[in-house]
């Protein structure tokens, strides 16, 4: 169990994480969503013992993870910028990880390299942005850590590599369940992987709930434009699409059983809402205070 209580991270006057409290049961895939500068990386850095929180507490299985050898051995934090020596060849980077990581799975790492078409003889500095991200995925997954944190590791990856990554992540998780936290801006692409979603904005917790429950926070109403207009009147419409005389409106909020009946009676089709639409709605409301700068994290 990961527990954060009143966690705050400051950089001078800038508050990156603001009195955030969360309880994360282990053995799930979490989606950590937030706009640029919302405090995602600062939060993940504290989770991974990369930095100390300014105030508040954090425990992983009941102990403070900061400088705790047992917890740090079982944590892999892969950032969008790799923490490796750029002059090293990929083979040397993997050899280093194998020497340091007790649970390192060399055979799996080799398979991932092949899957991402990474040449182990290449130097890290010569890799493209996407190839570096792929190397990050290899390091993160092959470490077989109990807590795997992947912070925007998809950067620069092409669609094929991203799809392979998502497929591999899910397969590996099903094979070896553990806690995985994925921070991403490509919400729709990864949303199906999430078991729970955490949304933060300006360092504050906006929402933490089961992904399915979150999807139930909204509904897509599709049907004749006039009927949809009448049904959604007075509701918060997150998105709207028109095709001929048909309108599909994404509405925020759960429908009561009688409302569902009324919609169906009017010939309207009800469907699920994408997490991205809900995320945009939940985080686009202007709030007091400036958004912290990305550069400070």
């Amino acid at each position: 169990m990961i527990e954060l209580q009143d966690l705050t991270v400051r950089y001078g006057d800038t508050v990156a994480v603001d009195h955030l409290s969360l309880t994360l049961p282990t053995g799930k895939i979490y989606g950590l969503l937030g706009r640029n500068g919302s405090g995602k990386t600062s939060l993940l850095s504290v989770l991974a013992s990369y930095r100390k929180a300014t105030s508040g507490s954090i425990t992983v299985d009941g102990v403070d993870p900061f400088e705790n050898a047992g917890v740090m051995r079982q944590t892999s934090f892969i950032r969008d910028t790799l923490d490796v020596n750029g002059a090293d060849r990929i083979a040397k980077v993997l050899d280093f990880a194998a020497r340091l990581r007790q649970g390192w799975d060399a055979a799996y790492a080799a398979r991932l390299l092949e899957m991402f078409e990474l040449d182990p003889r290449k130097r890290v500095s010569s890799l493209s942005r996407g190839q570096r991200s792929s190397l990050g995925v290899v390091l993160g997954l092959a470490a077989r850590s109990q807590l795997t944190i992947l912070d925007e590791v998809y950067l620069g990856m092409d669609a094929v590599a991203r799809t392979a990554f998502y497929r591999e992540l899910l397969a590996d998780y099903l094979d070896r369940p553990r806690t995985i936290i994925l921070s991403t801006h490509l919400i729709e692409e990864v949303a199906d992987l999430f078991e729970q979603v955490i949304i933060i904005d300006r360092g504050r917790l906006v929402l933490h709930e089961e992904a399915d429950e979150l999807r139930g926070r909204g509904v897509t109403v599709t049907g004749p434009a006039a009927a949809v207009d009448a049904f959604v009147a007075g509701r918060t419409v997150l998105g709207d699409q028109h095709l001929g005389g048909v309108r599909a409106a994404t509405v925020y909020g759960r429908l009561a059983p009688d409302e569902v009946q009324r919609a169906q009676g009017a010939g309207l089709a009800l469907g699920p809402v994408g997490i991205q639409d809900l995320f945009v709605h939940l985080t686009s409301t202007p709030a007091a205070g400036p958004r912290p700068q990305e550069a400070l994290r």
């Binding site: 990369y50 051995r73 280093f96 020497r99 340091l100």
Partner: protein, 228 residues
């Protein structure tokens, strides 16, 4: 094997090929220079002490800089605590400095032997005195290593401008040991300002204080991102 021992052995593994290349290049270079100088006259100073002695301390300064600037995040990202890294890197630094100092003295002995083969030694040539020389070279090398680590730790922890404030105290171990124990114009061992024993002791104490300061700066530092 403990994690700190793993850090030491992996750092030694990382620097071994670089050290071997550097050492080989030095031996070849000094050998050629020695042959050239001896073919035209006497050698009145120790080429080895002047060139390799300097290269060794500056190389250790560079290693100190890399320990924080490059290796810290590598090891922490591989699940090593800062405390374990500091212990392992400290032992690595000590072993490296001890070996380098030994190599400097051994090289001087070889050079003196080679010069002796070509004829009588010049009165200006610094004859080898292994123990005294070693006690001159080792504290200076340790001072440079700790200074490199301290200066980078200051920038790493506080950023560019505040890090400048750590620059001056960070240079103290190198500066003090250099001022008290660095070689003379012929490469000879000279003790300045203080008697030899005091000079060694003061140099080692300042270096030890620098090492403790490095520990304080790094033990809970945030692991910064790579720049590239």
């Amino acid at each position: 094997m403990s994690e700190s021992t793993l850090v030491t052995t992996n750092l030694l593994r990382f620097y071994r090929p670089i050290g071997l290349w550097l050492g080989s290049a030095m031996i070849v270079g000094i050998g050629i220079a020695l042959t050239a100088v001896l073919s035209v006259g006497d050698l009145r100073f120790s080429l080895w002490l002047m060139i390799v002695g300097s290269a060794a301390k500056y190389w250790l300064l560079a290693v100190g800089i890399m320990l924080t600037g490059m290796h810290l995040r590598q090891y922490v990202s591989a699940g090593v605590t800062r405390h374990e890294f500091l212990a392992g890197a400290g032992l690595f630094g000590l072993v490296t400095a001890v070996l380098f100092a030994a190599a400097v003295i051994a090289g001087h002995g070889l050079e003196q032997w080679a010069v002796g083969l070509a004829g009588p030694l010049s009165p200006d040539y610094p004859a080898i005195a292994p123990v005294t020389e070693y006690l001159h070279v080792l504290p200076v090398e340790l001072g440079y290593l700790v200074s490199g680590t301290a200066i980078t730790a200051g920038f790493y922890r506080f950023g560019a401008l505040p890090g400048l404030l750590v620059l001056v105290p960070g240079m103290l171990p190198a500066a003090v040991s250099e001022a008290l124990l660095a070689g003379g114009p012929h490469g000879e061992s000279i003790t300045r300002v203080l008697p030899f024993g005091f000079a060694v002791a003061v140099s080692l104490v300042v270096t030890a204080v620098g090492a403790v300061a490095c520990h304080r700066l790094i033990r809970d530092v945030a692991i910064r991102r790579a720049t590239g």
